[in-house]
Symmetry: none
Subunit: 214 residues, 4 copies
């Protein structure tokens, strides 16, 4: 894909290699504003500064635009965030904080959460895209957290909890927050991400039960 063939000359060439990204940016804008179905290729093209037909020089179809969006906008993030969490291998609790903070930051960005949101919207109609998203984004993310939990248990930082349930308890609240804010247009609690992370970590690590309940 990386059309960085700008070996020849600086700006001489009709900056064709910048096009795909410009189009994707415009596509994301439209998808966010209108949803996948109501977004019009022509509007995307106009916002990207070209004509309808030009979009098809870079992407085969509307669906291909969405696929590319997943590929180039989200997939890289998975690696970045899980790598960060994994780096703190000897201190799972710290890694957890790192992870929650990282994802919270991403999720609070409407342009980023928009892609998962789109995937949810069209999952039924584009099973292939849905499966790709699950394999390339969701499953690796989930697995990274689960590993983190298991390591924490081994190291004695965490109790002998069910790793699957614990993983859900970590990711779920982030999902809830994102859907509440970006989908339902509800008031976000993410105004102060640091506070969000602290409060969620407290609940997560210490539980909500009164101490004598233990």
């Amino acid at each position: 894909m990386a059309r960085t063939t700008t070996k020849p000359k600086p700006t001489w060439r009709r900056r064709a290699d910048a096009r795909p990204d410009e189009i994707l940016t415009a596509a994301l804008d439209e998808f966010i504003a209108k949803g996948f179905d109501s977004a019009r290729i022509e509007d995307i093209a106009t916002n990207a500064g070209l004509s309808k037909g030009a979009v098809y020089l870079y992407f085969d179809s509307k669906e291909a635009l969405l696929r590319a969006l997943v590929e180039r906008e989200i997939a890289p993030l998975v690696g970045r965030v899980t790598a960060a969490a994994e780096a703190e291998a000897q201190d799972p609790k710290a890694a957890l904080t790192l992870f929650l903070g990282g994802v919270a930051a991403l999720i609070s960005n409407p342009r980023i959460f928009a892609v998962p949101r789109l995937v949810i919207s069209i999952a039924a109609r584009f099973p292939e895209l849905r499966d790709h998203y699950r394999r390339a984004v969701a499953e690796p993310g989930r697995a990274a957290i689960e590993r983190l939990i298991r390591r924490g248990i081994e190291l004695g930082q965490f109790r002998q909890v069910d790793p699957v349930a614990a993983t859900r308890a970590i990711i779920g609240p982030l999902l809830f927050e994102a859907l509440w804010t970006h989908v339902l247009a509800g008031e976000s609690a993410l105004g102060d991400p640091a506070k969000f992370v602290r409060a969620q970590i407290d609940v997560l690590v210490n539980g909500i039960g009164a101490s004598n309940d233990r």
Copy 2:
């Protein structure tokens, strides 16, 4: 669910009052199978046993069908589940178990989770419907849980946690499970709902931290 089919009465009656429910059932089927946009009114009508035009005798538009679906299929559930949880007012922990179990049961039913899923899909395009869903379903549900948490704190069953974070910690995992299963077509962990609830409650109440971390 509650199909008020007028079976009791003789067959000569036109069962006119059963029509709307039959149409909604058919609509939900189509929406589940194809998504809101790809579902065709004509198919819905056929599956409901009437003609395209007749649908418009009962519902003003495609959007109205979805609105009615929220209204008649989901909204009642909110009351039912929160009421159940509220009944156990003196034992918030038990209420929590009740709530999680109830919602887990609902959510494992694809026909029921389909509606929230649809709302997610079209939220951007139908802000009014989205707002209605938030006000009639999401917000009441969330508020009920938050109340439950606050009461638990007052009663000394729960720690002095952030009620908002705790609420997210309760609902989030359910959301995660539902999306994972019904949207991403991933493997569900809900095979045994009782086990799911137990594990999740354990994590939630006791936290994942090792006891000496407290």
Copy 3:
């Protein structure tokens, strides 16, 4: 054209059953005027007195229109003409005259020859349609002539000629005339069909060789 299926009531019903034929007529008009590719569904619809979309209530696609045209306009003619020729079973020479006259009459009608012409035009792109035409129209026609020749030989009316070559000698001139006139817009020799048939039969039956050549 005149679908007289008006059994139910006079003009009461939105004459839906007359539609297909009206559309086909309009389609043929457009196809003749513009060719298959340049003909626009919308123009066909307008000429048939309905809207673009209505055409699709009766025909699945543009190709389907052409298919139906072959089916309803041409296929029946094959039977009619070959049957006429076959009726004169005891006098192959008379049958030949009958056949040539019948086909000459059909071919001189631009609306009728238009369909074979269309088939020629799109044969490469719609092999299925082409094959259907060959099997349903061309081959039966050719076979009928060949039978006629063989019978003539048996009856002693015709020489021991190659039936295949003779068949080509009968159909070829008709084809030539039709293409010349309707495709190349050349001057027709068909001004007087009777004369055309007489002259062609003379050449065909007696050959062009001087008698002493025999």
Copy 4:
């Protein structure tokens, strides 16, 4: 066919003058494979070894390509074949055999018959091209045959037949054979051209009638 590729000269030459022929060859290939409308200029260019835009350095439009094809591929053949027939001026019957054989050979070549076939396909849309073909190819060919017939009559080799009908009787079978084979994808009788010519000449010269019918 006759690709005048400038192989002899060193490779450093741009062989600019060979380009048009290369393009036409590629164009014919595509036209044969896809038909005029479905053939894409870009594919033609690629097959000719240059870029889309370069085609327009040599030809003004897609239609011009077809025009040039008629001009350079077919028109010359007319002269060649009719000249051959004319050379045998003193023996019209021999000339006829020569002509039929020559045309049969040409026609059995799909790359050659493809052009008339294309003309048939687009005649309605490009009247100018159609007229040019008629004047430059069809009419001269037809006239040559008619002259041949008249001369044969004068020389006493042929009967006093209608020259127009006789001409149709000569060309028609060739047309039939070509259409049957190349357009309808039917089984060809041209496996053995010599036999084809012989049989057709027999029918043509001697007629199909039994001798006592004369």
